[in-house]
Subunit: 143 residues, 4 copies
Protein backbone atom coordinates (compact mmCIF):
# COMPACT_ATOMS: atom_id res chain seq x y z
CA UNK A 1 0.00 0.00 0.00
CA UNK A 2 1.28 3.44 -0.89
CA UNK A 3 -1.55 5.46 0.58
CA UNK A 4 -4.09 5.00 3.34
CA UNK A 5 -7.15 3.11 2.17
CA UNK A 6 -10.60 3.55 3.71
CA UNK A 7 -10.54 0.29 5.68
CA UNK A 8 -7.26 1.28 7.35
CA UNK A 9 -8.50 4.82 7.95
CA UNK A 10 -11.58 3.53 9.73
CA UNK A 11 -9.43 1.24 11.88
CA UNK A 12 -7.26 4.20 12.84
CA UNK A 13 -10.25 6.35 13.74
CA UNK A 14 -11.93 3.64 15.78
CA UNK A 15 -8.76 2.95 17.76
CA UNK A 16 -8.07 6.64 18.34
CA UNK A 17 -11.57 7.11 19.66
CA UNK A 18 -11.32 4.02 21.86
CA UNK A 19 -8.09 5.42 23.28
CA UNK A 20 -9.87 8.69 23.96
CA UNK A 21 -12.64 7.04 25.86
CA UNK A 22 -10.20 4.90 27.88
CA UNK A 23 -8.18 7.95 28.77
CA UNK A 24 -11.39 9.83 29.55
CA UNK A 25 -10.57 12.57 27.09
CA UNK A 26 -12.99 15.24 25.96
CA UNK A 27 -14.91 14.55 22.73
CA UNK A 28 -12.38 13.97 19.97
CA UNK A 29 -12.46 14.69 16.28
CA UNK A 30 -10.31 12.38 14.18
CA UNK A 31 -9.53 12.79 10.48
CA UNK A 32 -7.40 10.68 8.17
CA UNK A 33 -5.82 12.17 5.04
CA UNK A 34 -4.15 10.25 2.24
CA UNK A 35 -0.59 10.93 1.09
CA UNK A 36 -1.85 13.71 -1.17
CA UNK A 37 -3.57 15.47 1.72
CA UNK A 38 -7.15 14.54 0.85
CA UNK A 39 -9.78 13.41 3.36
CA UNK A 40 -10.29 9.63 3.45
CA UNK A 41 -12.45 9.45 6.58
CA UNK A 42 -13.45 11.60 9.52
CA UNK A 43 -15.50 11.42 12.71
CA UNK A 44 -16.40 14.27 15.08
CA UNK A 45 -17.63 13.01 18.44
CA UNK A 46 -20.78 14.41 20.01
CA UNK A 47 -20.05 17.50 22.06
CA UNK A 48 -17.05 18.50 19.95
CA UNK A 49 -17.28 22.14 18.90
CA UNK A 50 -18.38 23.08 15.40
CA UNK A 51 -14.99 23.69 13.76
CA UNK A 52 -13.08 20.79 15.24
CA UNK A 53 -13.16 19.02 11.87
CA UNK A 54 -11.33 21.90 10.20
CA UNK A 55 -8.83 22.03 13.06
CA UNK A 56 -8.14 18.31 12.85
CA UNK A 57 -7.66 18.60 9.09
CA UNK A 58 -5.32 21.54 9.65
CA UNK A 59 -3.10 19.49 11.96
CA UNK A 60 -2.84 16.61 9.49
CA UNK A 61 -2.61 18.75 6.36
CA UNK A 62 0.06 20.97 7.87
CA UNK A 63 2.10 17.91 8.73
CA UNK A 64 1.91 16.65 5.14
CA UNK A 65 2.57 20.13 3.74
CA UNK A 66 5.91 20.41 5.53
CA UNK A 67 6.75 16.73 5.84
CA UNK A 68 6.93 16.73 9.65
CA UNK A 69 4.58 16.01 12.53
CA UNK A 70 2.77 19.04 13.92
CA UNK A 71 4.78 18.85 17.14
CA UNK A 72 7.85 19.74 15.06
CA UNK A 73 5.94 22.54 13.38
CA UNK A 74 5.10 23.88 16.85
CA UNK A 75 8.79 23.90 17.70
CA UNK A 76 9.40 25.88 14.51
CA UNK A 77 6.62 28.28 15.38
CA UNK A 78 8.16 28.89 18.79
CA UNK A 79 11.37 29.89 17.00
CA UNK A 80 9.93 31.69 14.00
CA UNK A 81 6.21 32.26 14.31
CA UNK A 82 6.19 34.50 11.25
CA UNK A 83 7.54 31.64 9.12
CA UNK A 84 4.82 29.22 10.15
CA UNK A 85 2.17 31.90 9.66
CA UNK A 86 3.44 32.53 6.16
CA UNK A 87 3.49 28.83 5.29
CA UNK A 88 -0.11 28.60 6.54
CA UNK A 89 -1.10 31.33 4.09
CA UNK A 90 0.88 29.77 1.24
CA UNK A 91 -0.81 26.40 1.65
CA UNK A 92 -4.26 27.91 1.69
CA UNK A 93 -4.90 28.23 5.41
CA UNK A 94 -5.05 24.60 6.54
CA UNK A 95 -2.16 24.25 8.98
CA UNK A 96 -2.44 24.03 12.77
CA UNK A 97 0.99 24.11 14.46
CA UNK A 98 0.43 22.15 17.66
CA UNK A 99 0.66 18.41 18.44
CA UNK A 100 -2.08 16.15 17.10
CA UNK A 101 -1.04 16.02 13.44
CA UNK A 102 0.85 12.80 12.96
CA UNK A 103 2.37 11.40 9.78
CA UNK A 104 1.68 7.77 8.96
CA UNK A 105 4.37 5.51 7.48
CA UNK A 106 4.50 1.81 6.69
CA UNK A 107 7.23 -0.57 7.83
CA UNK A 108 9.44 0.47 4.94
CA UNK A 109 9.16 4.13 5.88
CA UNK A 110 6.88 5.06 2.97
CA UNK A 111 4.63 8.02 3.74
CA UNK A 112 1.01 6.88 3.54
CA UNK A 113 -0.84 9.91 4.84
CA UNK A 114 -1.57 11.71 8.10
CA UNK A 115 -3.95 11.65 11.04
CA UNK A 116 -5.28 14.75 12.76
CA UNK A 117 -6.86 14.72 16.22
CA UNK A 118 -8.26 17.59 18.24
CA UNK A 119 -10.54 18.02 21.24
CA UNK A 120 -8.47 17.51 24.38
CA UNK A 121 -5.02 18.92 25.15
CA UNK A 122 -2.63 18.76 22.21
CA UNK A 123 -0.48 16.16 23.93
CA UNK A 124 -3.51 13.96 24.53
CA UNK A 125 -4.75 14.51 20.98
CA UNK A 126 -1.40 13.33 19.69
CA UNK A 127 -1.44 10.27 21.92
CA UNK A 128 -4.85 9.30 20.53
CA UNK A 129 -3.57 9.69 16.97
CA UNK A 130 -0.56 7.51 17.74
CA UNK A 131 -2.78 4.87 19.33
CA UNK A 132 -4.94 4.79 16.23
CA UNK A 133 -2.03 4.51 13.85
CA UNK A 134 -0.32 1.79 15.80
CA UNK A 135 -3.55 -0.18 16.13
CA UNK A 136 -3.53 -0.35 12.33
CA UNK A 137 -0.03 -1.81 12.39
CA UNK A 138 1.56 1.36 11.00
CA UNK A 139 4.25 3.76 12.20
CA UNK A 140 3.47 7.15 13.72
CA UNK A 141 5.76 10.15 13.15
CA UNK A 142 4.98 12.93 15.64
CA UNK A 143 7.96 15.16 14.72
CA UNK B 1 -32.59 14.69 18.88
CA UNK B 2 -32.26 18.05 17.23
CA UNK B 3 -29.15 17.35 15.19
CA UNK B 4 -27.45 14.30 13.74
CA UNK B 5 -25.24 12.60 16.28
CA UNK B 6 -22.14 10.61 15.32
CA UNK B 7 -23.73 7.20 15.89
CA UNK B 8 -26.56 8.05 13.53
CA UNK B 9 -24.19 9.58 11.01
CA UNK B 10 -22.11 6.40 10.94
CA UNK B 11 -25.27 4.32 10.44
CA UNK B 12 -26.27 6.53 7.52
CA UNK B 13 -22.84 6.26 5.90
CA UNK B 14 -22.64 2.51 6.31
CA UNK B 15 -26.09 2.01 4.78
CA UNK B 16 -25.40 4.39 1.92
CA UNK B 17 -22.22 2.52 1.10
CA UNK B 18 -23.96 -0.85 1.37
CA UNK B 19 -26.58 0.41 -1.08
CA UNK B 20 -23.81 1.51 -3.40
CA UNK B 21 -22.17 -1.86 -3.40
CA UNK B 22 -25.51 -3.68 -3.93
CA UNK B 23 -26.34 -1.39 -6.84
CA UNK B 24 -22.80 -1.85 -8.17
CA UNK B 25 -22.15 1.86 -8.17
CA UNK B 26 -18.76 3.47 -8.66
CA UNK B 27 -16.80 4.28 -5.49
CA UNK B 28 -18.93 6.61 -3.39
CA UNK B 29 -18.01 9.43 -1.05
CA UNK B 30 -20.56 10.01 1.72
CA UNK B 31 -20.57 12.94 4.15
CA UNK B 32 -22.97 13.80 6.94
CA UNK B 33 -23.38 17.41 8.13
CA UNK B 34 -25.24 18.48 11.25
CA UNK B 35 -28.02 21.05 11.26
CA UNK B 36 -25.42 23.82 11.48
CA UNK B 37 -23.69 22.58 8.31
CA UNK B 38 -20.65 21.11 10.03
CA UNK B 39 -19.05 17.77 9.20
CA UNK B 40 -20.04 15.00 11.60
CA UNK B 41 -18.59 12.06 9.65
CA UNK B 42 -17.30 11.24 6.19
CA UNK B 43 -15.97 8.31 4.18
CA UNK B 44 -14.40 8.37 0.71
CA UNK B 45 -14.26 4.93 -0.86
CA UNK B 46 -11.07 3.68 -2.49
CA UNK B 47 -10.89 4.72 -6.12
CA UNK B 48 -12.91 7.89 -5.60
CA UNK B 49 -11.17 10.90 -7.15
CA UNK B 50 -9.27 13.35 -4.96
CA UNK B 51 -11.90 16.07 -4.60
CA UNK B 52 -14.99 13.92 -4.11
CA UNK B 53 -15.07 14.83 -0.41
CA UNK B 54 -15.38 18.54 -1.26
CA UNK B 55 -18.08 17.76 -3.85
CA UNK B 56 -20.07 15.65 -1.39
CA UNK B 57 -19.85 18.41 1.20
CA UNK B 58 -20.96 20.89 -1.45
CA UNK B 59 -24.11 18.92 -2.16
CA UNK B 60 -25.06 18.64 1.51
CA UNK B 61 -23.98 22.15 2.48
CA UNK B 62 -25.80 23.67 -0.47
CA UNK B 63 -28.97 21.86 0.54
CA UNK B 64 -28.72 23.24 4.09
CA UNK B 65 -27.79 26.68 2.78
CA UNK B 66 -31.02 27.00 0.80
CA UNK B 67 -33.22 24.68 2.85
CA UNK B 68 -33.98 22.35 -0.03
CA UNK B 69 -32.52 19.13 -1.43
CA UNK B 70 -29.94 19.62 -4.17
CA UNK B 71 -32.35 18.23 -6.77
CA UNK B 72 -34.49 21.30 -6.18
CA UNK B 73 -31.42 23.51 -6.44
CA UNK B 74 -30.69 21.92 -9.81
CA UNK B 75 -34.18 22.79 -10.97
CA UNK B 76 -33.52 26.36 -9.90
CA UNK B 77 -30.20 26.39 -11.69
CA UNK B 78 -31.90 25.27 -14.87
CA UNK B 79 -34.14 28.32 -14.60
CA UNK B 80 -31.70 30.88 -13.21
CA UNK B 81 -28.14 29.62 -13.29
CA UNK B 82 -26.82 33.07 -12.39
CA UNK B 83 -28.79 33.00 -9.15
CA UNK B 84 -27.36 29.66 -8.07
CA UNK B 85 -23.86 30.80 -9.04
CA UNK B 86 -24.30 33.87 -6.90
CA UNK B 87 -25.55 31.86 -3.94
CA UNK B 88 -22.52 29.60 -4.30
CA UNK B 89 -20.25 32.62 -4.04
CA UNK B 90 -22.23 34.08 -1.14
CA UNK B 91 -21.96 30.89 0.89
CA UNK B 92 -18.23 30.59 0.39
CA UNK B 93 -18.07 28.24 -2.58
CA UNK B 94 -19.51 25.04 -1.14
CA UNK B 95 -22.67 24.36 -3.12
CA UNK B 96 -23.11 21.68 -5.79
CA UNK B 97 -26.47 22.00 -7.60
CA UNK B 98 -27.19 18.43 -8.68
CA UNK B 99 -28.94 15.54 -6.90
CA UNK B 100 -27.09 13.82 -4.05
CA UNK B 101 -27.53 16.46 -1.34
CA UNK B 102 -30.43 15.31 0.80
CA UNK B 103 -31.88 16.98 3.90
CA UNK B 104 -32.50 14.81 6.93
CA UNK B 105 -35.61 15.26 9.10
CA UNK B 106 -37.00 13.33 12.03
CA UNK B 107 -40.56 12.04 12.30
CA UNK B 108 -41.78 15.38 13.55
CA UNK B 109 -40.25 17.17 10.56
CA UNK B 110 -37.40 18.75 12.49
CA UNK B 111 -34.34 19.40 10.33
CA UNK B 112 -31.39 17.39 11.72
CA UNK B 113 -28.76 17.87 9.04
CA UNK B 114 -27.90 16.75 5.53
CA UNK B 115 -26.19 13.95 3.68
CA UNK B 116 -24.05 14.43 0.57
CA UNK B 117 -23.13 11.61 -1.80
CA UNK B 118 -21.05 11.71 -4.97
CA UNK B 119 -19.26 9.23 -7.18
CA UNK B 120 -21.80 7.69 -9.55
CA UNK B 121 -24.53 9.47 -11.51
CA UNK B 122 -26.35 12.14 -9.52
CA UNK B 123 -29.56 10.12 -9.48
CA UNK B 124 -27.70 7.11 -8.10
CA UNK B 125 -25.84 9.26 -5.58
CA UNK B 126 -29.18 10.57 -4.31
CA UNK B 127 -30.63 7.07 -4.06
CA UNK B 128 -27.67 6.01 -1.90
CA UNK B 129 -28.16 9.00 0.38
CA UNK B 130 -31.87 8.21 0.77
CA UNK B 131 -31.06 4.58 1.54
CA UNK B 132 -28.66 5.67 4.24
CA UNK B 133 -31.06 8.11 5.82
CA UNK B 134 -33.97 5.68 5.84
CA UNK B 135 -31.79 2.93 7.29
CA UNK B 136 -31.32 5.23 10.29
CA UNK B 137 -35.08 5.52 10.65
CA UNK B 138 -35.13 9.15 9.50
CA UNK B 139 -36.84 11.02 6.67
CA UNK B 140 -35.04 12.06 3.46
CA UNK B 141 -35.94 15.28 1.67
CA UNK B 142 -34.54 15.30 -1.88
CA UNK B 143 -36.30 18.50 -3.03
CA UNK C 1 5.45 3.33 -9.35
CA UNK C 2 2.24 4.69 -7.84
CA UNK C 3 2.79 8.35 -8.63
CA UNK C 4 4.73 10.35 -11.19
CA UNK C 5 8.33 10.89 -10.18
CA UNK C 6 10.36 13.90 -11.29
CA UNK C 7 12.39 12.00 -13.89
CA UNK C 8 9.24 10.78 -15.61
CA UNK C 9 7.63 14.21 -15.35
CA UNK C 10 10.59 15.81 -17.10
CA UNK C 11 10.44 13.18 -19.85
CA UNK C 12 6.76 13.93 -20.37
CA UNK C 13 7.36 17.67 -20.54
CA UNK C 14 10.27 17.36 -22.95
CA UNK C 15 8.29 15.11 -25.28
CA UNK C 16 5.20 17.31 -25.15
CA UNK C 17 7.29 20.34 -26.05
CA UNK C 18 9.05 18.46 -28.84
CA UNK C 19 5.64 17.50 -30.23
CA UNK C 20 4.63 21.13 -30.05
CA UNK C 21 7.59 22.28 -32.02
CA UNK C 22 7.16 19.53 -34.64
CA UNK C 23 3.49 20.43 -35.04
CA UNK C 24 4.45 24.11 -35.15
CA UNK C 25 2.18 24.94 -32.25
CA UNK C 26 2.17 28.25 -30.39
CA UNK C 27 4.30 28.42 -27.24
CA UNK C 28 3.10 25.71 -24.89
CA UNK C 29 2.96 25.52 -21.11
CA UNK C 30 3.19 21.99 -19.73
CA UNK C 31 2.67 20.98 -16.11
CA UNK C 32 2.78 17.58 -14.47
CA UNK C 33 0.87 16.88 -11.23
CA UNK C 34 1.24 13.80 -9.04
CA UNK C 35 -1.70 11.59 -8.08
CA UNK C 36 -2.50 13.92 -5.19
CA UNK C 37 -2.74 16.93 -7.49
CA UNK C 38 0.56 18.57 -6.53
CA UNK C 39 3.02 20.11 -9.00
CA UNK C 40 5.98 17.87 -9.82
CA UNK C 41 7.40 19.87 -12.74
CA UNK C 42 6.39 22.65 -15.09
CA UNK C 43 7.70 24.60 -18.05
CA UNK C 44 6.21 27.67 -19.71
CA UNK C 45 7.67 28.34 -23.14
CA UNK C 46 8.85 31.82 -24.11
CA UNK C 47 6.02 33.88 -25.54
CA UNK C 48 3.35 32.08 -23.52
CA UNK C 49 1.08 34.55 -21.74
CA UNK C 50 1.52 35.24 -18.05
CA UNK C 51 -1.18 32.99 -16.60
CA UNK C 52 -0.69 29.96 -18.79
CA UNK C 53 0.87 28.08 -15.86
CA UNK C 54 -2.31 28.49 -13.80
CA UNK C 55 -4.43 27.44 -16.77
CA UNK C 56 -2.33 24.35 -17.40
CA UNK C 57 -2.57 23.44 -13.72
CA UNK C 58 -6.33 23.98 -13.87
CA UNK C 59 -6.71 21.51 -16.72
CA UNK C 60 -4.69 18.82 -14.92
CA UNK C 61 -6.07 19.49 -11.44
CA UNK C 62 -9.65 19.50 -12.68
CA UNK C 63 -9.08 16.14 -14.33
CA UNK C 64 -7.79 14.68 -11.06
CA UNK C 65 -10.55 16.33 -9.04
CA UNK C 66 -13.30 14.58 -10.99
CA UNK C 67 -11.37 11.52 -12.13
CA UNK C 68 -11.82 12.18 -15.85
CA UNK C 69 -9.87 13.90 -18.62
CA UNK C 70 -10.78 17.53 -19.20
CA UNK C 71 -12.37 16.68 -22.55
CA UNK C 72 -15.01 14.73 -20.59
CA UNK C 73 -15.43 17.67 -18.23
CA UNK C 74 -16.04 19.90 -21.26
CA UNK C 75 -18.77 17.52 -22.40
CA UNK C 76 -20.33 17.82 -18.94
CA UNK C 77 -20.07 21.60 -19.06
CA UNK C 78 -21.86 21.64 -22.38
CA UNK C 79 -24.74 19.76 -20.71
CA UNK C 80 -24.68 21.40 -17.28
CA UNK C 81 -22.42 24.41 -17.16
CA UNK C 82 -23.69 25.35 -13.71
CA UNK C 83 -22.51 22.02 -12.34
CA UNK C 84 -18.97 22.43 -13.62
CA UNK C 85 -18.88 26.00 -12.37
CA UNK C 86 -19.91 24.84 -8.93
CA UNK C 87 -17.33 22.07 -8.84
CA UNK C 88 -14.70 24.65 -9.81
CA UNK C 89 -15.66 26.72 -6.78
CA UNK C 90 -15.78 23.69 -4.48
CA UNK C 91 -12.26 22.59 -5.44
CA UNK C 92 -10.81 26.03 -4.88
CA UNK C 93 -10.88 27.46 -8.38
CA UNK C 94 -8.38 25.27 -10.21
CA UNK C 95 -10.42 23.55 -12.91
CA UNK C 96 -10.38 24.35 -16.62
CA UNK C 97 -13.04 22.40 -18.56
CA UNK C 98 -11.55 22.07 -22.02
CA UNK C 99 -9.21 19.50 -23.57
CA UNK C 100 -5.57 19.50 -22.49
CA UNK C 101 -5.93 17.97 -19.03
CA UNK C 102 -5.03 14.32 -19.40
CA UNK C 103 -4.88 11.66 -16.70
CA UNK C 104 -1.81 9.44 -16.59
CA UNK C 105 -2.06 5.72 -15.85
CA UNK C 106 0.45 2.89 -15.84
CA UNK C 107 0.03 -0.37 -17.68
CA UNK C 108 -2.01 -1.81 -14.82
CA UNK C 109 -4.40 1.13 -14.95
CA UNK C 110 -3.17 2.73 -11.75
CA UNK C 111 -3.66 6.50 -11.70
CA UNK C 112 -0.25 8.18 -11.43
CA UNK C 113 -1.11 11.84 -11.93
CA UNK C 114 -2.11 14.24 -14.66
CA UNK C 115 -0.62 16.45 -17.35
CA UNK C 116 -1.93 19.87 -18.28
CA UNK C 117 -1.07 21.65 -21.52
CA UNK C 118 -2.20 25.03 -22.79
CA UNK C 119 -1.10 27.50 -25.43
CA UNK C 120 -2.50 26.38 -28.77
CA UNK C 121 -6.02 25.12 -29.52
CA UNK C 122 -7.39 22.77 -26.89
CA UNK C 123 -7.29 19.83 -29.29
CA UNK C 124 -3.64 20.53 -30.06
CA UNK C 125 -2.85 21.03 -26.39
CA UNK C 126 -4.34 17.63 -25.64
CA UNK C 127 -2.36 16.00 -28.47
CA UNK C 128 0.87 17.38 -27.02
CA UNK C 129 -0.03 16.04 -23.57
CA UNK C 130 -0.75 12.61 -25.02
CA UNK C 131 2.53 12.64 -26.93
CA UNK C 132 4.40 13.44 -23.73
CA UNK C 133 2.70 10.74 -21.72
CA UNK C 134 3.18 8.07 -24.34
CA UNK C 135 6.83 9.00 -24.77
CA UNK C 136 7.25 8.09 -21.11
CA UNK C 137 5.72 4.67 -21.78
CA UNK C 138 2.53 5.49 -19.89
CA UNK C 139 -1.15 5.56 -20.78
CA UNK C 140 -3.07 8.76 -21.49
CA UNK C 141 -6.73 9.15 -20.53
CA UNK C 142 -8.31 12.11 -22.32
CA UNK C 143 -11.90 11.44 -21.21
CA UNK D 1 17.25 39.88 -22.01
CA UNK D 2 14.86 41.68 -19.69
CA UNK D 3 13.27 38.63 -18.12
CA UNK D 4 14.26 35.02 -17.46
CA UNK D 5 13.62 32.85 -20.49
CA UNK D 6 12.82 29.15 -20.20
CA UNK D 7 16.27 27.98 -21.33
CA UNK D 8 17.94 30.05 -18.62
CA UNK D 9 15.38 28.96 -16.05
CA UNK D 10 16.09 25.31 -16.79
CA UNK D 11 19.82 25.94 -16.48
CA UNK D 12 19.28 27.55 -13.09
CA UNK D 13 17.12 24.68 -11.85
CA UNK D 14 19.54 22.01 -13.05
CA UNK D 15 22.48 23.72 -11.37
CA UNK D 16 20.60 24.31 -8.13
CA UNK D 17 19.65 20.64 -8.00
CA UNK D 18 23.20 19.56 -8.81
CA UNK D 19 24.43 21.74 -5.95
CA UNK D 20 21.87 20.12 -3.68
CA UNK D 21 23.02 16.65 -4.51
CA UNK D 22 26.70 17.57 -4.09
CA UNK D 23 25.97 19.13 -0.72
CA UNK D 24 23.85 16.11 0.20
CA UNK D 25 20.82 18.24 0.90
CA UNK D 26 17.32 16.92 1.42
CA UNK D 27 15.09 16.78 -1.67
CA UNK D 28 14.82 20.30 -3.06
CA UNK D 29 12.05 22.12 -4.83
CA UNK D 30 13.22 24.85 -7.20
CA UNK D 31 11.03 27.38 -8.97
CA UNK D 32 11.93 30.21 -11.31
CA UNK D 33 9.64 33.24 -11.69
CA UNK D 34 9.96 35.91 -14.35
CA UNK D 35 10.21 39.61 -13.61
CA UNK D 36 6.41 39.79 -13.46
CA UNK D 37 6.30 37.09 -10.78
CA UNK D 38 4.97 34.34 -13.00
CA UNK D 39 6.18 30.75 -13.02
CA UNK D 40 8.61 29.99 -15.85
CA UNK D 41 9.77 26.56 -14.68
CA UNK D 42 9.68 24.38 -11.58
CA UNK D 43 10.90 21.01 -10.33
CA UNK D 44 10.03 19.25 -7.06
CA UNK D 45 12.42 16.44 -6.26
CA UNK D 46 11.13 13.03 -5.19
CA UNK D 47 10.58 12.89 -1.46
CA UNK D 48 9.82 16.59 -1.14
CA UNK D 49 6.60 17.17 0.84
CA UNK D 50 3.38 18.01 -0.95
CA UNK D 51 3.38 21.78 -0.51
CA UNK D 52 7.03 22.52 -1.17
CA UNK D 53 6.15 23.97 -4.60
CA UNK D 54 3.89 26.57 -2.98
CA UNK D 55 6.58 27.37 -0.40
CA UNK D 56 9.27 27.78 -3.06
CA UNK D 57 7.00 30.08 -5.04
CA UNK D 58 6.30 32.03 -1.86
CA UNK D 59 9.98 32.68 -1.29
CA UNK D 60 10.54 33.90 -4.85
CA UNK D 61 7.27 35.78 -5.16
CA UNK D 62 7.78 37.51 -1.82
CA UNK D 63 11.21 38.64 -2.93
CA UNK D 64 9.80 40.16 -6.11
CA UNK D 65 6.86 41.63 -4.20
CA UNK D 66 9.12 43.68 -1.95
CA UNK D 67 12.13 43.99 -4.23
CA UNK D 68 14.53 42.30 -1.82
CA UNK D 69 15.81 38.80 -1.25
CA UNK D 70 13.86 36.80 1.30
CA UNK D 71 16.76 36.95 3.77
CA UNK D 72 16.13 40.67 3.99
CA UNK D 73 12.43 40.05 4.44
CA UNK D 74 13.27 37.72 7.34
CA UNK D 75 15.28 40.51 8.94
CA UNK D 76 12.26 42.76 8.55
CA UNK D 77 9.99 40.12 10.04
CA UNK D 78 12.25 39.85 13.07
CA UNK D 79 11.72 43.57 13.61
CA UNK D 80 8.09 43.95 12.57
CA UNK D 81 6.42 40.60 12.09
CA UNK D 82 3.02 42.28 11.81
CA UNK D 83 4.23 44.26 8.79
CA UNK D 84 5.41 41.16 6.95
CA UNK D 85 2.19 39.35 7.83
CA UNK D 86 0.20 42.23 6.40
CA UNK D 87 2.23 42.30 3.22
CA UNK D 88 1.66 38.57 2.85
CA UNK D 89 -2.09 39.16 3.00
CA UNK D 90 -1.91 42.13 0.65
CA UNK D 91 -0.07 40.13 -2.00
CA UNK D 92 -2.53 37.26 -1.87
CA UNK D 93 -0.75 34.90 0.53
CA UNK D 94 2.35 33.96 -1.44
CA UNK D 95 5.28 35.27 0.62
CA UNK D 96 7.65 33.17 2.73
CA UNK D 97 9.99 35.32 4.83
CA UNK D 98 13.06 33.13 5.23
CA UNK D 99 16.17 32.68 3.05
CA UNK D 100 15.78 30.81 -0.24
CA UNK D 101 14.07 33.50 -2.29
CA UNK D 102 16.75 35.15 -4.38
CA UNK D 103 16.40 37.94 -6.93
CA UNK D 104 18.10 37.48 -10.30
CA UNK D 105 19.83 40.37 -12.05
CA UNK D 106 21.93 40.60 -15.18
CA UNK D 107 25.35 42.23 -15.40
CA UNK D 108 23.81 45.64 -15.84
CA UNK D 109 21.75 45.22 -12.68
CA UNK D 110 18.43 44.74 -14.48
CA UNK D 111 15.97 42.63 -12.50
CA UNK D 112 15.13 39.50 -14.51
CA UNK D 113 13.13 37.46 -12.05
CA UNK D 114 13.56 35.38 -8.92
CA UNK D 115 14.41 31.86 -7.82
CA UNK D 116 12.80 30.08 -4.88
CA UNK D 117 14.27 27.01 -3.23
CA UNK D 118 12.98 24.99 -0.28
CA UNK D 119 13.59 21.57 1.20
CA UNK D 120 16.66 21.77 3.41
CA UNK D 121 17.57 24.48 5.93
CA UNK D 122 16.86 27.99 4.69
CA UNK D 123 20.56 28.81 4.50
CA UNK D 124 21.19 25.73 2.38
CA UNK D 125 18.18 26.46 0.21
CA UNK D 126 19.56 29.93 -0.48
CA UNK D 127 23.00 28.55 -1.33
CA UNK D 128 21.42 26.22 -3.89
CA UNK D 129 19.52 29.11 -5.45
CA UNK D 130 22.68 31.18 -5.69
CA UNK D 131 24.57 28.27 -7.25
CA UNK D 132 21.86 27.93 -9.86
CA UNK D 133 21.77 31.60 -10.71
CA UNK D 134 25.53 31.92 -10.98
CA UNK D 135 25.75 28.80 -13.16
CA UNK D 136 23.57 30.69 -15.63
CA UNK D 137 26.04 33.59 -15.61
CA UNK D 138 23.68 35.89 -13.72
CA UNK D 139 23.85 37.80 -10.45
CA UNK D 140 22.14 36.62 -7.26
CA UNK D 141 20.68 39.10 -4.77
CA UNK D 142 19.96 37.41 -1.42
CA UNK D 143 19.09 40.62 0.49
Amino acid sequence: MSTLDLKTARTVIAAARTHGRSAELKPLTVVVLDAGGHVVAAEREDGASIKRFEIAVGKAHGALALGMGSRAIMARAEQQAFFVAAVTAAVGGSLIPVPGGVLVRDGAGTLLGAVGVTGDTSDHDEAAAVAGIEAAGLTAQVD
